[in-house]
């Protein structure tokens, strides 16, 4: 290769390193100017000194060493002055600035170079936290590049030991050297590679930090898809009524709900997910017609205006001041959104993935999410009343029409809302029970429901493990009918199914709603933890006035109106290490995974507040301590006090003298009780192993004598031991 590209000489590397170091110092010191309300004097001094050193390095290198020593000691009173002036933040900033001046003008060893990088980074991050401004980002990026180049150049020069930066600096560098250095550096190849590496690193880190939490990985990677299909444990499309009980066996957390509400929190929130309408073979499930509704492309939020002109669906929260419920659903829990009640605004990041069935007020993703997803509800109404948008209720209430529809072979939604068991005997049982509840009065749907719940509660108790009466005894195959006809205990599914079927046979449209009920309140971070074990089923009855009303026949459910404030909840919530660990997860969700800019800003501001509060505490503690000490000094000095302190001082001196005469220091003496073997042998062994690496070839006889003494102390007979104290003392010069 003829046109071999020129390489930098060591002298040029030293120059480059010096310039990069000064550049780092300048960038980090310049961040101080972002702050307001702090003294700029140290920063101005630092800026000037470092700028001068950039162009005239020889000047600082020629300063005698004593100047730097005095400077290093002088920092302490400067710091103390700041602290006494009751301003710890300023003290910290100034201390850092003074230290940067010191290090930026003196760095030859690798250790010192790393110190410089760390000091600059510390100042940068500190000012960044205090300002939380965009300029900080720019400065950070510039600093990042400078620091990388600085470390690279430092590593290169480290490899060649012959370089003596000190002498080089004393000579100074002339313009020609600077020019040649830059001419080489700005060759397109170096420039290109450098920029490429820088951009690559920046890009990579921002990719990891920003993009990965947002990107839809599961669509691209089949592995996620496999996992998400397998982990269908919660409420799914083809749920049948018996499935709710099996979900209850899982104690893991299904969702976490952050509540920001001045209205209060319902004591027993119902996280409603899905509605079951059709009744076949003794259990409720979602009819095909309803499933189609939930898969229909027309059922997207972009068509909401057709049903809900008063409701908003968007990707950002509204600006209105109202209660907000943020729900974080665990990966693989379900594709249905747990909705606590009707709302005014729903915020969800991927509206195109969302399907909604307006008439049953259910919302679903296109498929089960393999990662955590969150959504936010605003203006929630948890009265349990849901408006009916299906317009079919009128059809259902028209009795002539209804009879005709019910006679058809294949019932379709919404006629399924009135479907009864195919078995005539079972139908008889439900209608008879309904009749006995009505007792000849003319009741509306809600009154019927109230009485039916009363009836069920009197006859049956709640129990998770149930036993149905045998077929012969009951004389009917339908399990719900068998249960209703007995006086056995049952779980929520039986209560809900019975009530729905009774209501239907009395002519009121009804359906089973499934989801979760209740949940634990985590008092550490104030949110609901809803577990799979909280799975529940209840009823919704059409009241004939365009609303579906929630009725929970299961014993032990509280009435709708019970509401507690967040403070009350916090007092009643769960505590303990598990809850604490879970609250950390919630913090992570809120701040990082949730990842909207508002939350980010809040986090930064909270960190800032925390830092300031912490500093304030430390500051007051320090001032108190100083004041106390000052008062203590100022107290009148009686003769007793003087004697007391003289005595203390003498004791101290004696203790120091004794320590000096001891072979082992206090620490070794104390630790000797816990360690195996003789402490003197240990100490000698430790010194010997340190000397292993030392080249002993050209040692003087005196040194060899000390080495032999050490070896005697370690391996020799105790009777032959030399004076251990003198030996250890002597070993310090080895």
């Amino acid at each position: 290769m003829e046109n071999k590209s020129p390489k930098l000489s060591l002298k040029q590397y030293a120059l480059l390193k010096w310039m990069l170091g000064a550049g780092m110092g300048l960038v980090s010191v310049s961040t101080v100017f972002n702050l307001s309300g702090y003294s700029y004097i140290p920063a101005i001094i630092a800026f000037t000194c470092i700028s001068v050193s950039l162009f005239w390095p020889a000047g600082f290198a020629r300063l005698p060493n004593i100047v730097w020593r005095v400077y290093a000691i002088g920092i302490i009173p400067l710091m103390a002055m700041d602290v006494i002036a009751r301003d710890t933040v300023a003290a910290l900033l100034n201390l850092n600035t003074w230290l940067i001046i010191y290090r930026a003008l003196n760095h030859q060893k690798r250790r010192e170079e790393l110190q410089l990088v760390l000091l600059c980074l510390f100042l940068l991050i500190m000012t960044g936290i205090l300002t939380a401004s965009l300029l900080f980002g720019v400065q950070m990026f510039v600093f990042f590049g400078l620091a990388i180049s600085f470390l690279v150049v430092s590593s290169i020069t480290q490899c060649s030991s012959e370089l003596d930066g000190e002498s080089d600096k004393k000579d100074g560098w002339n313009a020609a050297l600077v020019l040649s250095t830059f001419r080489i550096l700005f060759r397109s190849r170096y420039l290109f590679t450098g920029t490429l590496i820088y951009c690559f690193l920046i890009g990579l880190s921002s990719l990891v930090f920003l993009v990965v939490p947002r990107v839809e990985v599961e669509n691209k990677v089949t592995l996620f898809e496999l996992k998400s299909n397998e982990s269908l444990s919660g409420f799914s499309d083809n749920i049948r009524l018996g499935d709710v009980t099996s979900i209850k066996n899982d104690a893991s957390i299904a969702l976490r709900v952050d509540v920001n509400s001045s209205k209060g929190v319902p004591v027993d929130p119902y996280w409603r997910m899905l509605v079951l309408d059709t009744y076949q073979n003794g259990s409720f499930s979602v009819s095909n017609g309803l499933q189609d509704k939930l898969r229909n492309t027309m059922a997207s939020p972009f068509n909401t205006v057709r049903y809900w002109p008063d409701k908003r669906f968007s990707q950002v929260p509204s600006r209105e001041d109202r209660d907000r419920w943020t729900v974080f659903v665990e990966p693989g829990a379900s594709r249905y959104l747990p909705i606590v009640g009707t709302f005014e605004h729903l915020t969800f990041s991927q509206l195109d993935k969302l399907f909604m069935a307006a008439d049953i007020h259910s919302f679903a993703l296109s498929k089960v999410s393999s990662k955590m997803f969150s959504f936010q509800l605003e203006g929630v109404d948890f009265s349990g009343k849901i408006e009916d948008y299906g317009l079919m209720s009128s059809v259902l209430y028209n009795s002539a029409e209804r009879r005709k529809l019910l006679r058809s072979e294949e019932l379709t939604y919404p006629v399924t809302l009135l479907q009864l068991p195919a078995d005539k005997k079972a139908r008889k049982i439900f209608s008879n029970t309904a009749k006995s509840i009505i007792g000849g009065d003319s009741l509306n749907a809600l009154e019927f429901a109230r009485r039916a719940v009363e009836f069920l509660g009197e006859k049956h108790d709640y129990s998770m493990d149930i036993e149905l009466p045998s077929l012969e005894e009951a004389g009917v195959e339908d399990p719900v009918a068998r249960w209703l006809n007995s006086d056995l205990d049952g779980h929520c599914e039986f209560f809900a199914s019975s009530l729905v079927l009774m209501a239907r046979s009395a002519g009121f449209p009804a359906r089973v709603a499934v989801g979760y009920r209740g949940g634990e309140w985590n008092s550490y971070e104030n949110y609901f933890m809803v577990r799979n074990a909280d799975a529940h089923a209840w009823c919704e009855i059409y009241d004939g006035e365009g609303n579906w009303v929630r009725v929970d026949p299961t014993p032990g459910s509280s009435s709708v109106s019970d509401v507690r404030s967040v403070q009350q909840q916090a007092a009643l919530g769960v505590t303990g290490s598990k809850a604490y660990l879970d609250s950390l997860k919630m913090l992570w969700y809120r701040r990082v995974v949730n990842f909207d800019e508002q939350a980010q800003r809040e986090a930064a501001l909270q960190l800032k507040d925390f830092l300031l509060a912490y500093i304030e505490t430390a500051e007051s503690w320090l001032t108190n301590a100083v004041e106390y000490f000052y008062r203590w000094i100022r107290e009148p000095w009686g003769i007793g006090r003087i004697i007391y302190f003289t005595f203390l001082a003498v004791l101290l001196v004696v203790a120091i003298c004794i320590q000096n005469r001891l072979t082992l220091n206090y620490k070794e003496l104390i630790f000797a009780t816990f360690r195996r073997g003789d402490p003197i042998r240990r100490k000698a062994g430790r010194i010997l192993s340190r000397l292993d690496a030392v080249d002993k070839k050209d040692w003087s006889d005196a040194k060899r004598k000390i080495l032999l003494d050490l070896q005697t102390l370690r391996y020799g007979a105790k009777e032959r031991w030399p004076n251990a104290r003198m030996t250890f003392k002597g070993s310090k010069q080895l």
Binding site: G677, R681, G685, R686, L688, S689, L708, Q711, T712, R714, Y715, G716, A717, E719, R720
Partner: protein
């Protein structure tokens, strides 16, 4: 071990060892390490097996060593027709006294050079077992003491398998060390070539050491202090050889005592009255390797020795030195 060595005796022992070393190295060039090890063996009162090719100075070393001492010296040339009685001696009937009289064999001496020991039959080799262990010979039921000190210097050729019998393991265990001579380096060999070499018989040294001195050395070596951690280190090494799957058997108890004695001797030789881990490291290979045999023996003797040394060094490297 509670009593420690008086300084006078300690200095005297140093002087004896240094003198012996000076005398031998005036004759044997460039083999200081071997001489050191031989002298350590002498001080520890152990027997030495020197193993190497013919003509590298094994016998010369043995001769020189014997001549530095003011002690009786016998050489037994081991051949395939040598009988135990030729070594130990026989009882012969005295006509005049009308009783059997014991005629002592060449073994009744302070220093015995058993030259080419592996050329004798195992029967004859076994005649050395008792004498090497206890310094006693039993002939016709009567036990006779041999000289004190009693040191056997044996030589053998490793590659020369024609007409040799491998020494049994019990015999090997009785040697404190097995040493190799090796060729001298170029400079030293030039020295040897240009020098005037007389025969063994001309070998006369000024200022030899007395039998008393050697016995004193042996006594002093036993008083050299060994710290507990060093003993534990030795213990760990021999235990590792016993559990190593490549070895047929590990180091015997006699072997571990030999390690300790040799380490003590080396400490004294280096002018210390206590043992350093370095002392152990310096002698342990020579003390141990001839006591170890492979579970799967190699057909080639040098190959087998290299393998044993390799495995043993691996064991040593895996055990941390006392700190």
């Amino acid at each position: 071990m509670t009593e420690f060595i008086p300084t006078v005796e300690f200095n005297q022992s140093q002087e004896v060892l240094q003198r012996m070393k000076a005398l031998i190295s005036s004759r044997i060039r460039g083999k200081d390490d071997v001489i050191d090890q031989v002298l350590i063996c002498v001080a520890a009162g152990g027997h030495v097996l020197i193993e190497d090719l013919p003509g590298v100075g094994k016998t010369t070393l043995a001769y020189c060593l014997s001549k530095t001492m003011d002690a009786s010296f016998k050489r037994i040339q081991f051949t395939s027709d040598l009988l135990p009685a030729d070594v130990t001696g026989v009882s012969v009937y005295d006509e005049r006294e009308r009783e059997f009289v014991f005629k002592p064999g060449p073994i009744f001496s302070n220093i015995v050079l058993a030259d080419e020991i592996n050329r004798a039959t195992p029967k004859t080799q076994s005649s050395l077992l008792e004498v090497m262990d206890h310094g006693k010979v039993t002939v016709d039921g009567i036990t006779h003491e041999v000289g004190s000190p009693f040191i056997v210097l044996a030589t053998q050729n490793p590659v020369d398998y024609e007409g040799t019998f491998q020494l049994p393991e019990s015999q090997m265990d009785r040697f404190l060390m097995r040493l190799q001579m090796g060729y001298p380096n170029e400079e030293n060999e030039l020295d040897i070539l240009s020098g005037d070499q007389g025969s063994y018989d001309d070998l006369e040294f000024e200022g030899t050491v007395s039998v008393r001195d050697i016995l004193d050395l042996k006594r002093l070596v036993r008083q050299v202090f060994v710290e507990k951690s060093v003993l534990e280190y030795i213990l760990r090494v021999i235990q590792a050889t016993r559990t190593e799957s490549e070895f047929k058997s590990g180091i015997s108890v006699r072997g571990s005592l030999a390690i300790k004695a040799a380490a003590q001797a080396r400490a004294l030789y280096m002018g210390r009255d206590f043992v350093l881990p370095d002392d152990v490291l310096e002698i342990i290979t020579n003390v141990c390797c001839h006591r170890l045999t492979l579970r799967r023996p190699s057909s080639d003797a040098p190959e087998e020795r290299r393998m044993v040394e390799g495995i043993f060094n691996r064991i040593l490297a895996s055990i941390p030195l006392p700190r």
